[in-house]
């Protein structure tokens, strides 16, 4: 019985010691900061506080982006930029040199346009598929009164895995001698070479991506659903609104800001697809059926027989512009849809 009484003062004393320690640190920091404020003025002090983060951001984001843009205007295979000749817009011209953009074989760099086509279809199917399944799952979970936390964790669990691990797991599952084919052989006496047939392999790449990322987007949508006040639905119920009309006229419009965020994140993530698809399809196969833009950039820059850093950078810049357009569209749409 005496333990709690003796523990509580100990906790208070420890808290006070920590507080005293922080006070001492603050007194030491306060002197130079006060001097700095006198020197620069109060208006400039916020910039002082964000300077450390801005330095890191500059080193790891601005400089690489600047370098990529600079490389995009250079040619040759030398790595160091000062050893590389300036070629102006030649890399962009080469990438965009096409008889018809709808027919990759008419393009000078047909692999780039194959990758663009593949990425476009993947982005479309992955975005719509993930959005649909994430929305349906979130709607169902939002209705659950029991076990919501458990199922939320179940659906979110794949998000915690590494993309390479995801690729490997599904490769084992879908391989010629994999689990799924074992099942098909035992039960239906048939075997499908999922990862070597164009249609099947593309479908599985999209499916695995949906399975992998859906939990994350489902959480965003679920948070949006839970933020809609319950009494709005009660008012609608009193108004005699059908379930379908409640979903169409209340849930969807009120969820629109979340759906927009999810859509744009999905678009960006889809355009950037690489690792799990690369591992799953053994490097974009069969043939170039699952070669995506980032894989093209990677191979163009780092394949020992290519090392076309300028061309890869130009492709990166084009992809960056596409992503920028998508992001700005999201901001514009979000502002327009603001409730």
């Amino acid at each position: 019985m005496t333990a709690p009484a003796s523990v509580a003062p100990a906790i208070v004393a420890r808290g006070e010691r920590i507080g005293d320690g922080l006070d001492a640190v603050m007194r030491v920091v306060e002197v130079p900061m006060a001097a700095l404020q006198r020197l620069l003025g109060a208006a400039r002090m916020p910039y002082v506080f964000i300077l450390p983060n801005m330095l890191l951001f500059t080193v790891f984001v601005f400089v690489p982006v600047g370098l990529a843009i600079a490389y995009a205007f250079t040619g040759g295979t030398n790595l160091l930029i000062w050893d590389r000749p300036f070629v102006g817009l030649e890399n962009f011209r080469a990438l965009l040199d096409c008889g018809s953009y709808l027919e990759p074989s008419t393009c000078r760099y047909n692999l780039f346009w194959t990758a663009v086509h593949n990425t476009w279809w993947y982005t479309l199917l992955n975005t719509l598929g993930t959005l649909f399944f994430a929305l349906v799952t979130a709607l169902v979970l939002n209705r659950l009164t029991r076990g919501r936390g458990f199922f939320r964790a179940v659906f979110f669990y794949p998000v915690l895995l590494s993309p390479v691990v995801v690729g490997l797991i599904w490769q084992w599952f879908l391989a010629r001698e994999g689990l799924l084919n074992g099942f098909l052989t035992d039960w239906f006496d048939t075997r499908i070479i999922f990862l070597l047939e164009v249609g099947w392999s593309r479908a599985w790449v999209v499916y695995v991506s949906i399975w992998f990322h859906m939990g994350f987007f489902m959480l965003i949508i679920l948070a949006g659903l839970q933020a809609i006040p319950r009494d709005i639905y009660e008012a609608a119920e009193i108004d005699g609104t059908s379930q379908w009309r409640q979903f169409w006229c209340l849930t969807l419009p009120l969820l629109l800001p979340n759906l927009l965020v999810v859509t744009v994140l999905l678009l960006i993530r889809s355009v950037q697809v690489f690792d799990e698809a690369w591992v799953l399809t053994n490097g974009g196969g069969p043939g170039t059926a699952n070669t995506f833009i980032v894989q093209f950039i990677y191979q163009t820059a780092f394949s020992p027989d290519l090392r076309l850093y300028g061309l890869a950078s130009a492709a990166s810049v084009l992809m960056g512009i596409a992503l920028l357009v998508l992001t700005l569209s999201q901001l514009w749409l979000a502002k327009k849809a603001e409730v």
């Binding site: 006040p229 009494d231 709005i232 009660e234 008012a235 609608a236 009193i238 108004d239």
Partner: protein
Amino acid sequence: MTAISMKDLRKSYGSLEVIHGIDIDVGSGEFVALVGPSGCGKSTLLRMISGLEPISAGQMNFDDQRVNDLSPAQRQIAMVFQSYALYPHMSVRKNLSFGLENLRMDRAEINRRVDAAAKMLAIDGYLDRRPKALSGGQRQRVAIGRAIVRQPRVFLFDEPLSNLDAKLRVQTRSEITKLHKQLKTTMIYVTHDQVEAMTMAQKIVVLNKGKVEQIGRPLDLFERPANLFVAGFIGSPRMNLYPGKVVSTGSEGVTLDSAQLGRFVVPAAGIDVQSGNDVTIGLRPSHLRLGSAEAGSSGGAMTVEQVESMGHETFVYGRTGQSDELTIVHVPGHFEAETGSSLAFTFDPAFAHLFSSVDGRSLKGARI
């Protein structure tokens, strides 16, 4: 106009019963207020009436129709929520017409009803605005408008004024009262604010811990509270309560002795007490007068602890004897007194309420 009858109404969540067999009759076109402290079950009861909350046991009838298993829409009720519950992405016009569109009503009729309600509530200038562009009072009127356009059998209000400032609350209070007179529809109004209940309702139901404490006209509840709970809940500031003992009973009334109030006779016949019974004596602050006792009145003395002056009236809070409870005296106009000073007060024993010290029920024959 619809009459509502509730018989032995109960609500349970699992094994926990929160509404314990309530019997209430609401007359056709009547304005009834459900009052009680937080957690007493008044909002739950309103939601049971609306159909938003299933009824665990008992029977609810709208006129002669049993509505226990009917949906809110089938009951044809309209409800105004505390939070307004307006559809935030719709214009005011759309908010008003949404429920009518569910009924596949003719567009011309929808427009006619919306325009009429908007005009009645003076929101016709904001029909194209979204709720976020409206003030609290305007939002409240839109919520009421949404209820009006459906021409429901019963209006239900769930603390509709609690998010408004004091001035707007008074104004909206009178608007709702006016609306009731105009529409003559049955209205059930939940509030924890007894001033709202006293000023708006024709009948008040006082609830406590899921049970009805008293049902009656506002003044009946004020003048003849059925028990200590109602005595303490109805009336602001609360009734002063003092412990006392019955000295004798006779034709002239009941003679009481109290440490704070001295010995006095309550002139009432038929009070159900015997000599030696412990009782609780209740006196409204407005029934106490500052000054020494004169013939025919009784009194006590208090040490002033606090004076609240509102300009047109003053409440003096003081300690009488060793009692923990402060005595409150209502003084018309402005009054000043030093904290710690001693003041004598007097009262007419005819206004004294008597309650059983055993179960708190009124001993002066209140109606339940």
